[in-house]
């Protein structure tokens, strides 16, 4: 954070002028770099980007997401992944190679309303994003509670090198799965830990733009600890 210049911007604001590389949520207009979203602009080295504070989730390949089964055909499921597109989970991915549409019943594995941890296998916007659950740690979520936050605040919840999420997990004993799409599943053996973890997540969401958030969350978790 030392070598970066941060600024609050809204669409149309000129962040800087000069030979910079435009990254996320900025456009180049002549030699001006213009923000295209409400957020915090960052200039580091030769690149400029805006961390948005609002907006929908845009699927990116290899993102871990949490989806909710909304429907299925005889060959695939459709998952709500909190995006402008529905996630597409083919049956082969779950049943394996020997899947046959008439022998296997899709609802035996995943029913409508089930929550799934999945990875985006492919996404090119000309088709719906392709999901996969064939990996360790992926698949149906058996227990836990779903907390929805804005997808733009996910990096804040994870923190730098995962510091924020580690702080919350350690203080509450909860296991937290964060989907890049802003859906978070919290599971915890004890009820107080669950409530506290949920509160911490909501606090991150509400105060995402404030500095020293990890310390603030830490003190909140500790204050209720006694």
């Amino acid at each position: 954070m030392e070598n970066t210049k941060r600024k609050y911007v809204i669409p149309g604001d000129v962040i800087t002028t000069g030979p910079f590389r435009p990254e996320h949520n900025v456009i180049l207009d002549g030699n001006r770099i213009i923000a295209t979203a409400v957020g915090i602009s960052e200039i580091y080295d030769d690149a400029v980007k805006v961390i948005p504070l609002a907006g929908k989730y845009i699927p990116k390949i290899n993102d871990l997401v949490i989806g909710k089964v909304i429907s299925h055909s005889s060959l695939s499921w459709e998952l709500d992944i909190n995006s402008c597109y529905v996630g597409f989970l083919p049956a082969q991915d779950v049943f394996g190679r020997d899947f046959s549409a008439h022998a296997d019943e899709l609802t035996s594995k995943l029913k409508n309303g089930d929550l799934v941890v999945a990875r985006i296998a492919n996404s090119d916007r000309s088709r719906d994003p392709l999901l996969t659950i064939s990996d360790r740690e992926l698949g149906k979520i058996e227990s836990g509670e779903l907390v929805k936050i804005s997808p733009s605040k996910v990096p804040r919840l994870i923190g730098k090198r995962g510091t924020m999420i580690q702080t919350i997990e350690m203080a509450t004993g909860a296991v937290i799965t964060i989907g890049q799409n802003g859906w978070v599943v919290v599971s915890c053996e004890n009820r107080d830990g669950l409530l506290k973890a949920k509160k911490a997540i909501q606090m991150v969401e509400a105060e995402a733009h404030i500095a020293n958030l990890t310390d603030r969350v830490k003190s909140m978790l500790e204050s209720k600890g006694e």
Binding site: Y8, C84, H209
Partner: protein, 247 residues
Amino acid sequence: MILGGKESDVVLLDENGIRCDGRKIDEPRRIMIKAGVLKNADGSAYIEFGENKILAGVFGPRDVHPKHMANTDSGILRCRYHMSPFSVSERKNPAPSRREIEISKVIKEALEPAVMLEQFPRTAVDIFIEVLQADGGSRCAALDAASVALADAGIPMRDMVSACAAGKVADTIVLDVNNEEDQAGQADMPVGYMPNMEKITLIQLDGILTPAEYKKCIETAIGGCKQVYELQKKALHDKFFSNGGNS
């Protein structure tokens, strides 16, 4: 003598350059904008522009229904401008009128250059504008609110769109014509403007102006747009960056 205007007993402009509602010729009405007023919409804004009270809500980008409207290489923008039955003194039929359909269209077209829809193929961004109370210049106010609501929804935009009208009243170019001036005045020109890109996205003219007046009118309106832009900026800053902060 009076072109396009009606005879009336209101003094639109007195000898001191004060208009019928006490404003100077280059003074807009009182404007208040608030972002993020609705919980269920993805983005929203409320504007009070003189006596106009307008709510705007934005959804999207989201799936297009009906499906045949979807565009495979870009998103689409849809806009509905609607006046509540109680927004005017005589009850207005809630069914969309010819005027409302026109304003929906011009607002949509005024926002399209700003919104980066090409990032979301096969989706739609829906804007719903509800006029709760109408005064003159509601299309400009509605456009201002819609632009703030889009930014609030986090939809990528090249620039904000600000709008303000100018007109000709009692042979003088004035900023931000109100309802009386619109009825009795000689010309009304709403302008939508992208303040950073310095581009006009909406221009309409009702009335007759000489080329010199036309030029002055546009300049006056753009001056108004810039004032509105500062308030739009403030509304978004208040919503997103108000409680504490680090910059």
